[in-house]
Point group: C2
Chain length 798, copies 2
């Protein structure tokens, strides 16, 4: 049984803050505002111990002030409730350019200096904190991996709420606050994420507290949600299943009081909902609170600059005073702005924050910048992955039996799901495709998370389920990222063509991982694993619109230290790569595998060895006699492997004197030069596999030019001839698809004949036989709508 969630602390509702407490909260907020503004402007003189002079100002003013005061307010008030209620909390800072704020707060609470001792909590460290911001080689203006307490960068907007829900899943004691900017709220992914509350289990999951921050403006425009009537906004939030709590104002004392009350109300409601579900067995979906915070953009910054209103307008988005080094009036305004926070009251002579400022700061790992939930590698435990012997399919002779690879994998995933029933640290996500992708065995171990209404006809819906299905690739990806970043495991199964929907999200995750790997204090997290299935070659009823194998190309543009791509050709190799992927850390593993019946080529042990090598000769399939072969048939992907083996079979029959080598590639990065990817083969290995002089006919799963892009530096590259998907798709049969793209067995044999020099005259007749078979195919399919019997019934051992 999972440990019972702790409930005591958050159910005590502390009283409203005293005036004294409000005063210290304001001190904390002012200190954070001071530090945020200082980061944008100051190179030196961080405490304003002397009058501000141009040489104290950075030569290039880069950064964004607008969102900082609001984020600082939230940080301050989260500090209060975390301390008062002894909460474990994490905050997702959604708005772009929130860096100065979160850095300021982390520095104030001390978590920053713990990670970066040079940025000590004193004047010297403060100067470094300010100087490094948006400085060449310094820290970026978003809440990047470098920022303690962050699992979400912001800047590419739209994913905060999905990340928040991912973090809250299976973290019953965790409060995940999520600040959503009103710009970000206009994006589709964010708009769709609100419905994630229909998947949040109040018993086993933590709470998400969205804080919709309406500061009214984006870069240069008002925001939609700030400019619709409040009753419309309330209806929207209620429609999303939330109970709105409003905080609005521009007078700090009033806002502090209102914000504290709103936080208390929200947390009381959350506690009540969790108590009802956990203690009283309530099953209705709670109407979780949402805080709507309206404060001016660039609040407390310059009200007017050069005669134009700035505070409370889009002009406060970036650097409100842009001419500080050259314009004495701007310099004066900046000094007066900075001094308005009364830094002398906030920091002692050594630049250390005074006790009042720190009064609200929680202890130790309760600090938002120090929570291990934002450094998930500290919490992650190895997954219990069973022996593959229990799941591998028996293969006595290659190419005789068939299995649906993803169905076989489904059995393994079901076991993992079952073996994590108590730990609850493994989830499967997918856009309504788990069963379509034939992984439904997992339902035997865990149902599908669902908190909305149910009907008797429903199957496998489960209020406590760990399979996540919603028709939104964005939400699936966001959930999984949030889950992994907080130290858990998972797999995303997706139609191959539509994983492009999350291209931009995976970019950011790869960038996050690449940066994190270089930060010694960030512990490695579990890899993001994709199973791409229902792939390009088997879109029988969907046709052209559902055919796109380009995600592999997309990820291979990214940091090689993070990206791995696997194309297992059968069930046992799929098990092997999945096993490897689920054990790995800090990678993005892309596994492409079919769900349709597929020949079994390798036994479990053979699969293990082959996948460990990543590419190898299938001796049994070729006709080599010890000398260098006449031709290499290479393949990567399940359908290309089948066509290549069928071509090898034809060659064995019709041109038995030809010495043929069959090479299968599972791990695509093996083709890259050694210096370009950790998995890249040495030239010695590559030349040994592919030869340097013989024709290589390479049948590849995706766009053929990708293979050239990987292998162009190899000696034998000019002999490499690649067949793959070339956008010749439609609604048709499996074999017709490969024929249309010239990837079929007959074409591969023709390619061999066209490229191997000095073949006997008889080869011309064989070539004609192949061409005739293609013609026969075209006629047959027009007539019958099915594939040629000789193709449909083919097997390696026939």
């Amino acid at each position: 049984m999972p440990e019972a969630p702790r409930q005591d602390s958050r159910t005590d509702s502390p009283t409203a803050p005293t005036d004294e407490e409000l005063r210290t909260l304001d001190a904390h907020w002012r200190a954070a505002n001071y530090l945020a503004a200082g980061q944008i402007y100051l190179l030196a003189n961080p405490l304003l111990t002397e009058p501000l002079r141009p040489e104290h100002i950075k030569p290039r003013l880069l950064g964004h002030w607008g969102t900082s005061p609001g984020l600082n307010l939230v940080y301050t008030h989260l500090n209060r409730v975390i301390r008062a209620r002894e909460l474990d909390a994490l905050c997702i800072w959604g708005p772009g350019h929130g860096g100065p704020s979160v850095l300021a707060n982390s520095w104030l609470e001390g978590s920053y200096s713990e990670k970066y001792p040079d940025a000590s909590r004193d004047a010297e460290g403060m100067e470094l904190l300010m100087r490094q911001f948006s400085f060449p080689g310094g820290v970026p203006s978003h809440v990047a991996p470098e920022v303690p307490g962050s699992i979400h960068e912001g800047g590419e907007l739209g994913y905060s709420l999905a990340h928040a829900y991912g973090a809250a899943l299976d973290n019953p004691d965790l409060l995940v606050a999520c600040v959503i900017g009103d710009g970000e709220a206009e994006t589709g992914p964010l708009a769709g994420s609100w419905h994630a509350n229909k998947f949040l289990d109040p018993v086993h999951d933590g709470a998400v507290l969205p804080i919709l921050h309406l500061n009214g403006y984006k870069i240069a425009n008002p925001t939609v949600l700030a400019r619709i009537p409040e009753e419309e906004l309330d209806a929207l939030l209620r429609g999303y299943g939330h109970e709105p709590i409003h905080v609005a104002g521009d007078e700090p004392a009033t806002v502090h009081r209102a914000m504290a009350a709103a936080m208390d109300t929200a947390l009381d409601r959350i506690a009540a909902a969790q108590r009802a579900a956990r203690e009283d067995g309530a099953t209705e979906r709670p109407h979780w609170p949402v805080i709507v915070l309206r404060t001016p953009k660039g609040w407390t910054g310059p009200a007017e600059v050069d005669g134009e209103p700035v505070e409370g307008t889009w002009r406060a988005h970036q650097v409100p005073l842009s001419g500080v080094r050259d314009n004495p009036e701007h310099l004066r305004q900046l000094e007066s702005w900075l001094r308005s926070y009364r830094p002398e009251e906030l920091f002692d002579a050594e630049g250390r924050p005074v006790a009042d400022v720190l009064a609200c700061v929680p202890d130790d790992t309760r600090r938002l910048g120090a929570t291990p939930h934002a450094n998930g590698g500290l919490l992650v435990r190895d997954l219990p992955i069973p022996s593959l012997d229990d799941f591998a399919v028996p293969v006595d002779k290659p190419g005789t039996t068939t299995h649906e690879p993803t169905r076989v994998l489904g059995d393994l995933l079901a076991r993992v799901m079952r073996d994590t029933a108590d730990r609850r640290d493994f989830r499967l996500v997918g856009p309504d495709e788990t069963a379509s992708n034939r992984l439904q065995a997992v339902y035997g171990a865990s149902g599908k998370a669902w908190q909305a209404g149910t009907l008797p006809v429903d199957e496998h819906l489960d209020r406590h389920g760990r399979v996540m299905e919603i028709l939104s690739e964005h939400l699936c990806q966001g959930w999984l990222e949030g889950y992994l970043l907080t130290g858990r495991h998972g797999l995303f199964s997706c139609y191959e063509a539509f994983v492009h929907i999350v291209d931009s999200m995976v970019n950011q995750h790869i960038k996050w991982l690449r940066t994190s790997r270089r930060l010694p204090w960030r512990a490695p997290i579990s890899s993001l694993n994709y199973l791409l299935t229902s792939h390009v070659w088997r879109q029988d009823h969907n046709g052209f619109s559902h055919q796109d194998p380009g995600f592999v190309d997309h990820v291979l543009n990214k940091s090689p230290e993070v990206v791995r791509v696997y194309l297992p050709p059968d069930a046992n190799t799929l098990l092997s790569v999945a096993d490897h992927a689920l054990r790995s850390r800090d990678y993005v593993n892309v596994i492409v595998a079919g769900k349709q019946p597929c020949f079994d080529w390798l036994s479990n042990e053979e699969a293990r060895v082959h996948c460990a090598r990543g590419a190898g000769i299938w001796e049994w399939a070729g006709t080599e006699d010890g000398a260098e072969p006449d031709v290499v048939l290479a393949c990567a992907g399940d359908v290309p492997t089948q066509e290549t083996l069928a071509a090898a079979h034809l060659l064995r029959r019709y041109l038995p004197e030809l010495s043929v080598r069959v090479v299968n590639v599972v791990d695509l990065a093996r083709l890259l030069p050694q210096g370009e990817h950790p998995h890249g083969m040495s030239d010695f290995e590559y030349d040994g596999l592919f030869t340097t002089t013989k024709p290589v006919i390479f049948a590849y799963h995706g766009y053929p030019w990708l293979i050239h892009r990987l292998a162009y530096r190899r000696t034998g590259h000019q002999n490499l001839h690649v067949r793959g998907y070339k956008e010749a798709g439609t609604t048709t049969t499996p074999f017709d698809m490969v024929v249309r793209n010239d990837l079929d067995r007959y074409r591969l044999v023709m390619d061999v004949i066209d490229r191997v020099p000095g073949l006997a005259v008889r080869a011309t007749a064989v070539r004609q036989r192949m061409a005739d078979a293609r013609t026969r195919h075209h006629a047959w399919i027009r007539e019958h709508g099915t594939d040629l019997p000789e193709v449909a019934e083919w097997s390696w051992n026939a």
Copy 2:
């Protein structure tokens, strides 16, 4: 002044349908249901004139029944109101697998047979209609380009409502109905699209009538919106700014009556809102109606199969009876299902629909399958593009003056915007970045569309504006696609890194165009034009997360007949390619250009010639003497061009005896072989430009391997050495970015020295000088946070 929108017809509210009319509506609906089911199953015996036998059934049953009856209901009732109110209407069919329904209706109304005469409106044509569906080489199950009346394929879900709004913009007399499936409604892009009503001008735009079809299930799961309480759904829709009208039931007669009433109510409200805005000058945003339609999934199909409930469950999603050819009971059930529509009452002995069935069908181009708005090429007019002479910047000497290229383009776009003020057929879309991307001159010609609240501080907001800005790349893309597909023009300006957000959408648009181009009845539409700016090399304050030049790689995987990629190196070349793009048809043009000050290299006339060639030698920049050069410095993109020219400058100074050729590439597809892209160069041309034997140092804007992927077949490929972005990004200065990625002038000179054989010994000293400059750069930037003065102040003529 634009012509006053026509208002008379839609303001008459016809009375409710009579019983007789309801009877004929039901006949139409039954006929459509019959044809939809028949398409999934029947090879022959389309009218069931003989008992159904296994040989009448398709060998592979592919297709989806679940959504069809609901879509048929909507089509039928749209027919009624179009006819009764003399509406010009278009319908977007959002749900996936809506093909059988829309094909059935188009065939019934005759628009199908007009496009495809073989599918005549008789028994023979009906057999073809049924047979071709999901048959190899036939028609796909989605509402693909092959389907008359379609501008939206469905299947990749989430874009219907955005397309609908795009179609309605500047079409004041058009009603755009939009059926949104409840699966699709879970996607982020769809969820975000509801707010498009804050951008719809009731005066100059048409109306969008969303019809949210809650049939309750996706592939294998219930849907969220069907399983939240109705008051929550109502709140959500009201929060989106809509007034919901509910229709629910499973008894056809009742539903027909309710649907007719709902349509009348909705259209009356739309007419009233338009009248108020157009005649009475009302300026408040209308609360547009939305119809919520709840009918069973697979309605009127088999209630139970093999003892399991099917109608009204997810089991009705695909083929409800799957064993028809082999299982006599399934065959019997199918026959009884098909006969339940009483085909003998619906079609005459020749298979022609009887008069009752056709009673609701509108005339001629009012038919949904015949509206020219769904075949926008019929309506498109050439854009009035002014002479570039009026906008080109003067260039007396190359590399002396600088301009911000996008700002120069902004002036041209402003003129186009102004010159289309009456026609209203040009729009600019962008995610809150028009000004950030320095195109703000357009505001002088048209403000930003905005129907939400305004404040005195706002600038350029305009209820009638044609610049569209919302922080959603999905909505921008969807709007523009809908606008183009209905025969208008536009341009999408976007941060380069974040255009990946729409990777999957552009895939579908390219696939749509590729298919459309092969359909003789589809007239060419205006191209989808991207301006990608704020690019990888100038993310000074955003850093690593905002650096991604891979969209070019993404689109170049797609159909070459559709895709064009341009990298203009300066302001005048940007004007030239933009001019070309805006005039073109049926392409996706990707233009990558910077917004930062950039040297002017070519005069207007030189730019025109250079862009027409797509790639060429810049003689003035090189040191050739007539013989073949020693080295080719090639470049593509503004920043690489600058670094290449600076490298050429250094070589001229330090190694004057070296014969250097400078080649600039604007049109990236020129590098492809002639047979692979219509713009591909012949080998003769390529070899003439790049030589076959000399080293080519290619400085490219994006991922360097893309150039290899394009050029690997060229003779001189082994001499090609490419520099580009290799994910070495951070928050830093412009020059530090190129240094980090080894694309800087000093590195390029070192590359030349490393690769040109037989250089004088002195070259070693020059190489060291370059390495020293890089070292000096590193020290300077650490100290000053700025670029070396010698770099910052460099110009070609210095």
